[in-house]
Symmetry: C2
Subunit: 575 residues, 2 copies
């Protein structure tokens, strides 16, 4: 008898996104799986999992017709780019492209035109799928990308192609119509590249992070598993009955994993096109959305919305916050407005696919008061199991766990990118000594929690000391008159740098700059959370704080226009 061992179907069974894609159609074929609301027309589109799966099969067949070539293990296949919002079509491409062996490049449409053109050329994208609402943007860059991109696919809820100069243009729904709804998904290597995600490029040209099927699969399965480790008494277990709305754009580093978590769990997925406050409230109310992941800005926008009380948002019970530290004040305010709404924070970056560290209530904290637990929930937290995370000094030595030392966060593990696409120099700048270097600063507190302090480039150096800006920002946001706030360093003859606080007040507040310092003295200095020298020397009240394309405070923009901020700033003696 022959020795038939089938390693490819046993120990070496590949970890593929295909496994995620196939689960819902197997378990819940006839349940509504995907709900999309066009944020302009307000129209709803609903698909059962079987319908969604068949459309994805049709798309995979269409990619073959369009002559997309799959890549081998650790050799990128043809790149398929998208310029698209959060629609069912984008979700279809998220699976059809990688699962048929191609590499998905979701373009951040909020980048500058130059950077968009750069990423398309650098990635050598072969096809571009784009939304009708982004037609002007595509037309604007068309002349510079038409030699790279061979075929364009137009996606719209209305049928027919627009009148445009774009050549080689196909219509998405027409493409699908002509194809079979059966597709034999290949048994790929798990080392095939699935996605190519560019960094925001705030400090230079965007860099392309590549992720294999294996890397994404292991991020998601560890992330799910981590859910059962949770000791947070406020956690609501919804199982497969959770109804998430994907607000994070699908063009931001896998929308933090949402399209993979939710499809694998066969949750009903709500897609809002793009975020609008009205659209958000309407969708939560009509779809009974239970879970969202957001940047802190979204919470601030909700708080500001005058019609918020007109909607029934009581279904919302789980909010994950990322892309910036979660100010405790903001958390408290939003939880007051929407009872049931409980938020906690996480940390990650493009190069880590993205999630690496998340808020975590340790087992012995279970009985702590809500106030103490809230402080834990906004600390960035503990590394995901399966990942190694440390904080090291300039010599690569781990810093002491004493709540004082600051160091750089370093990470390694199965879902950290191996290298930047075609960029060995930048790769070597982050990968050395066996660790990926994040460029983010943190301390480790007495509970062994990692507390993010700042980007290395954003750190404020005052004399020999470093101001923990995120800690300051969190303290400021606890003031009930502050809607959002950031702090930056400005040049100072004596200290090298001094701290400027920039804040936006809640609607109709009549508080002044001095009130902030008073608040920080009482709640910060007197309570031992900060020392006197950390108090901002300058305070500015503004209507808008500049933000980056991914919704973070844009400190580079602030520094560029420093004179304007300084002219409005109030100098406050703090001693």
């Amino acid at each position: 008898m022959v020795n038939r061992t089938y390693p490819e179907f046993s120990s070496h069974y590949p970890l593929l996104l295909t496994t995620f894609m196939k689960r819902p159609v197997k378990v819940y074929p006839n349940e509504i799986g995907v709900v999309y609301r066009n944020h302009i027309t307000g129209k709803y589109y609903r698909f059962t999992w079987l319908e969604w799966y068949k459309r994805t099969c049709r798309l995979a067949n269409a990619l073959k017709t369009l002559k997309i070539k799959p890549g081998g293990p650790f050799k990128p296949g043809d790149r398929i780019a998208t310029m698209a919002l959060n629609t069912h079509r984008h979700l279809e491409i998220y699976y059809a492209a990688p699962c048929s062996g191609a590499m998905l490049h979701p373009i951040n449409v909020r980048l500058s035109q130059d950077h968009i053109i750069f990423t398309i050329k650098h990635a050598e994208d072969k096809i571009l799928f784009f939304d009708d609402s982004l037609l002007p943007l595509v037309e604007g860059i068309y002349d510079k990308i038409k030699d790279t991109i061979k075929k364009f696919v137009y996606m719209s809820d209305k049928s027919g192609l627009p009148d445009t100069k774009i050549q080689n243009l196909y219509e998405y729904e027409e493409l699908l119509k002509e194809e079979s709804d059966v597709f034999e998904w290949p048994h790929l290597s798990e080392d095939n590249y699935a996605t190519l995600c560019y960094t925001t490029g705030t400090t230079g040209l965007p860099k392309g992070s590549m992720f294999t099927h294996r890397a994404i699969y292991l991020l998601i399965i560890h992330g799910l598993a981590y859910g059962v480790f949770s000791n947070d008494p406020s956690r609501v277990y919804l199982g497969e009955n959770a109804i998430p709305m994907i607000i994070t754009p699908l063009f931001h580093i896998h929308a933090w994993g949402a399209p993979f978590y939710h499809v694998f769990m066969a949750l009903r997925i709500v897609l809002p096109g793009t975020f609008t406050v009205e659209g958000f409230c309407e969708l939560v109310q009509t779809e009974k959305v239970t879970s969202v992941a957001v940047v802190p800005t979204i919470l601030a926008l909700l708080l500001e919305y005058k019609d918020l009380d007109k909607y029934d948002l009581s279904s919302l019970v789980s909010v994950a916050v990322g892309g910036g530290a979660l100010p405790l004040g903001l958390k408290t305010k939003i939880e007051k407005k929407i009872p049931g709404f409980t938020a906690s924070s996480g940390y990650g970056m493009t190069e880590t696919a993205p999630t690496t560290v998340a808020a975590f209530v340790k087992k012995y904290m279970k009985g702590w008061s809500k106030e103490k637990l809230d402080e834990v929930r906004v600390k960035t937290g503990l590394p995901y199991p399966g990942l190694e995370v440390d904080v090291v000094d300039e010599n690569g030595k781990p810093i002491p766990h004493d709540n004082n030392a600051l160091g750089q966060i370093v990470i390694r593990g199965p879902w950290v990118m191996e290298k930047y696409y075609k960029n060995p120099e930048k790769t070597a700048a982050v990968w050395y000594d066996g660790w990926f270097h994040t460029g983010d600063m943190a301390k480790i507190d007495e509970e062994d929690f990692l507390v993010i302090a700042d980007r290395m480039s954003d750190i404020i150096r005052s004399g020999a000391e470093m101001v923990p800006t995120v800690l300051l920002e969190n303290l400021i946001a606890m003031a009930d008159f502050v809607l959002e706030a950031t702090v930056v360093g400005v040049p100072d003859e004596v200290w090298g740098e001094k701290t400027m606080a920039i804040m936006k007040l809640v609607p109709n507040s009549n508080k002044k700059e001095e009130d902030l310092i008073e608040f920080l003295k009482t709640e910060g200095v007197d309570k031992g959370k900060i020392t006197n020298w950390m108090l901002p020397k300058l305070v500015v009240i503004v209507n808008e704080i500049p933000r980056t394309s991914v919704g973070k405070f844009n400190k580079i923009e602030i520094r560029k226009n420093l004179d304007e901020f300084l002219s409005k700033a109030k100098d406050i003696k703090t001693n």
Copy 2:
């Protein structure tokens, strides 16, 4: 600049049991992690995670001193055998051996001596770690294994070596004392073999299933993740505050994953040595045990225990049942005795590491009545996500999902064993057409649940029909006078085989054989669950039903002593 990509610390970061081992000492170094109670002396031994980890490091150093050679990827390292109960020492070996590159072979001490000797010689075990209580057993086989095993390690709560003929004998605690409590765990390949587990060998010689670190890691991480998919309203979420007692012997296929799940989650682990009813009750009460995984027999033993009501077992809220179908009657009875106790069933086998299919409440069943949900919870259920499971006919074609057709369960996925150790013939008998063939029969019902019908070899063929014996057994166990029951086929001149039911009554019951048939008519035939021809033709009431070494009903033993059973059987006319 050089291209430093570190694939071994990024996408290819190995999935190792080492990652599980290191988590508790990092997150909860000073919490009690392991509690062991000697089932003979009744003494307790408690270890913090730091203590347990340091002991495991000492053991890994001792293995080096004993000259254990690690194996490469897909090449077995030196085999380390254990003949041991559920003690902290066994748990230490469970990590020290595989994580230092050796292969762990936990010997099922309930096998026949011949089979134990066979597995030791077949595995070429180099070291044998054994418990003091098993000294007579080891002495009994010593002459036949002394040429294979180079070193013996004696494990006892009392210090000193026994007076014995065994040569090359070391004492466990002495070995540890001499070693450093620091160990540099190697960055192994995930394809290194970690464990070698032999099948029970009910139908021939035991066969050795080999599992790589990757295979076990992926089983555990999928198993954990599956916890967050749960829609069962009775599920209690304990997070890291769960306190499991490992009752399943560590020598039964990874104790169903317990040493890996619990260490990774840093749960307080309670080890009872071996199962005794008194020990179980005492440990639940003193340690506030929340979770156990058991074979149905254990539940039957508890029900029979006269002092059960003297203990406070209210902490027990989660019971997983495997190793045999969970009779609904048994479930109902035990839940009545111990409120809070909720049980559900799973399915697996040695070759699948073991878990593959588990009870699952689908999202739309959430609001169902307790009665209906209980029926769902004892159906074997749905495949674990990440695994492919199907039921096929004799030609390998999937059977229809209509609750009628019977077929063989076939499985493939990352934690199915690739091959039997040194046994290509048996490997080829189970691995063909790209699937591992389980030899178990099942149907798929209208909800798409896999319902185990029987072992292929246990199936009863009556005329042209196959009797679904597990369905019958479940129905019988619903009778409140039945403690446990099984059915087997006996030769019949007319029908080929006819069905004999063997039952053990609850204490002090005065029910007769005919009462069972009456019950099956009312609850089975009249309610459409079975048809008239499926009713047993023979019924036997016994004091004990024979069991295999892993606690399943031993139908082979019953068939061997068929005349004895037939002499007691009552022939019942059912028409």
